[in-house]
Symmetry: C2
Subunit: 446 residues, 2 copies
């Protein structure tokens, strides 16, 4: 009994980063064991594949070495959905929720954990945010489930139809990208209902909860925080550019958009433009895309979603800050000014650090995977590594052919990409303030 108390004390002494890593490792391990159970799969599964799927679900990546549609029983698929919800809606919000449910006060340690996970700069707003977050997320998922069942109950009957709606609603909102068809969502390429519901789910889940709360509270664009404004404008611009790019590049590719009607071409371009940051669903075959398009999608995957969201990548604001700093410098200005606000240099430093560490990890991943997968083409390897690091889950086809060592490497990269390069390396760096010219405002990065 005494030793248990000691252990609990030791556990509580862990700093937020260590706690986060620990919770992740435990969840993935439990997930692996459950997926390995006889009634989780139809014909059994290797340990490495169970570990891969568990990690992929828990990190909401969506890469799969075995076909989730045909390998797993409904029970197994349900477990995957649970892992996705746990990993996506957030271990952290779950932890806080459990504290709330058992009536305990939330201590500073837990709030710091949340702060760290959600990348919130004010400690006070965390608890309120988590309540918002949780109620809002479940509501959205339920509404989406109802909409999806309009399509899938008539097609598959009540049991399967509802389960499919449940699964894909969770998978989409949490930006997991898992689907229960072997070709992902390719059969719904021109289906407006599936396209709209799924994409709205992952866009909402990927824009970051602070943005949602901000929009919910303030309603008017002018009153929004700089972070929210940048996220909205940035998301719009990047999605429109991506849609145009994919539409033009794949227009006459017979293996992707070539044989589609104009309507389906537009739906597919839209969906494949918004999905890489970092939903990971696909309605056309990624592996058949032009290498130019693949390279473009790699860049989108690297940028990723919003801070404090279910998505991954270096985050859109990180990329925006670096772009804005470059533009400021070219104009000969020393301050990074956008929308009449100055961005503190400390945020640029953070953005730079996140990008550099990410680039280094991605490069190392590519070099290593190149060594384990001798027969794979370079662009496929690059695609796979960035997809895992950005917890995107798109694949040009390499995942199912991975060697055992390759699988382990991708597992490691997914965890690295989800926990964030920074979380693994240091705890909280509090930036010191500098002289203010324009009024300053905080920006979330990473």
């Amino acid at each position: 009994m005494k030793s248990l108390v000691c252990k609990v004390k030791k556990f509580i002494k862990l700093n937020p980063s260590q706690l986060l890593v620990l919770v992740f490792v435990v969840s993935i391990t439990v997930g692996t064991c459950v997926l390995k159970l006889p009634f989780s799969t139809h014909e059994g599964i290797k340990w490495v594949d169970a570990l891969f799927i568990s990690t992929s679900a828990m990190t909401v990546t969506g890469l799969a070495t075995v076909d989730p549609a045909t390998t797993f029983t409904t029970f197994g698929q349900f477990i995957i959905a649970v892992l996705i919800q746990v990993g996506g809606l957030g271990i952290m919000s779950f932890a806080v929720l459990i504290y709330m449910m058992v009536g305990k006060k939330i201590g500073l340690k837990e709030r710091l954990l949340m702060q760290h996970a959600l990348n919130q700069t004010s400690v006070g707003g965390i608890i309120k945010l988590v309540k918002y977050l949780f109620v809002f997320s479940i509501t959205i998922e339920l509404i989406a489930m109802i909409f999806l069942s309009i399509r899938w109950v008539p097609q598959f009957g009540w049991t399967k139809g509802l389960f499919f709606s449940f699964f894909h609603s969770i998978s989409a909102f949490n930006n997991a990208g898992f689907a229960l068809w072997s070709d992902n969502l390719m059969q719904y390429v021109g289906d407006p209902l599936v396209n709209i519901v799924i994409s709205i789910l992952f866009i909402i889940g990927g824009i970051g909860f602070t943005v949602l709360v901000d929009v919910w509270k303030k309603r008017k664009f002018k009153k929004l925080s700089l972070h929210t404004k940048l996220m909205i404008i940035g998301t719009l611009i990047i999605n429109i550019v991506a849609m145009l790019f994919i539409f033009c590049m794949e227009y006459s590719n017979p293996e992707t958009l070539g044989h589609f009607t104009l309507k389906d071409k537009l739906w597919a371009s839209y969906f494949q433009a918004v999905s890489p940051r970092t939903a990971g669903f696909n309605t056309i075959d990624i592996g058949s895309m032009d290498e130019t398009t693949l390279f473009f999608i790699i860049i989108l995957m690297f940028i990723g979603a919003g801070s404090g969201s279910t998505g991954g990548g270096i985050k859109l604001t990180t990329a925006l800050i670096i772009a804005l700093a470059t533009i400021s410098f070219l104009r000969g200005k020393n301050d990074i000014v956008v929308l009449k606000r100055t961005i503190n240099t400390s945020f640029l430093l953070k953005a730079l650090a996140i990008s550099m560490i990410s680039i280094v990890f991605v490069i190392l991943g590519i070099l290593l995977l190149n060594l384990t997968e001798r027969n794979a083409s370079f662009i496929d390897i690059m695609f796979e590594v960035v997809s895992a690091f950005g917890t995107v889950g798109l694949s040009a086809g390499l995942t199912v052919t991975l060697s055992s060592v390759g699988k382990q490497l991708i597992i490691f990269i997914m965890i690295l990409g989800k926990l964030g390069p920074l979380t693994l390396m240091f705890s909280l760096a509090t930036p010191s303030k500098e002289k203010i010219r324009y009024p300053e405002e905080d920006i979330l990065t990473g």
Copy 2:
């Protein structure tokens, strides 16, 4: 007569960037026309190839759509050497030299041009530097020529042997990478004399003249400027890492190092490790290298040589500053401190801007070349674009198969890479000073 005076006045009114671009365009055009002359080639040459070779020589890149060894007469090859010397030792130093020779005083405009080209922050030291630079360069080239003729006069006789020594001395010192054998320097893979002389030439030419002047004046390591120290330490580390990497990766590759003796393996690894930043010579077949090695070399090519050198790339100090900033941030420090010196944030901003613009240009280049070269593999395209942008001149074999549009694209990228992304976009950005904690010192970037 009056209109001519007007034109001259207009010419002088150009800012340094515009003047630099103008001189480049004129030189490349003249070079193209001369290479197109009947007695420059054995069997004629297309305009686009003449333009390509002229640009490649003038930008000291070394990529070639036709084989310089068999296509050009000795006259043609001599013209290439002249273009290399003009483009490498520097249009700018040439311009100043011409002013000096005709006895004119050097005006502020010309000094600014030099300052811009050599990336020197003090205007006063420029003229002195150019004198140093010019005498030193010619001396080094002559000494190297004597050493090389020890190998090549016995092999090819006096005329050809001396010409070869002259050509390769110029090509190496200016980091041009042109060689007069169809397989570049592959036949000298294990030859200590050629390996040492050529590599010393391009390392000296690529480390930056300010470093050379600094070492020449101060002799002792402790007294050297921060820039010089960083360049020396950085060059050593990156070369050793690169040599180990290539040695290990290619050790048993039958098409590169596999069949060599250990001695030749080491020489080849050394040479291929130091050459990508940005000499561009090769003693083993680049196209036969492992994709992992190619990717590694792409990174080396992107980083490039030293500021104010004959080489290209984003420059070693630019990469170092970004790495140092990342490390500082991870340690929770707001200042970039190295070797007991603080680096001003304005240099980080400059380094960041240079890197970002370079990345954007390289990505655009890759996307475009992917469109023009439909049958080329992705890594070869990536390699080609980075090689052109970093004015390196190594190729995985794509250059000779380029389409006409692809050739024009690479020509454009070479010019862009040589003139520097910044030179094309803005003139001189003078950073304002901030609070000093540790004593500050200037770092050259770009």
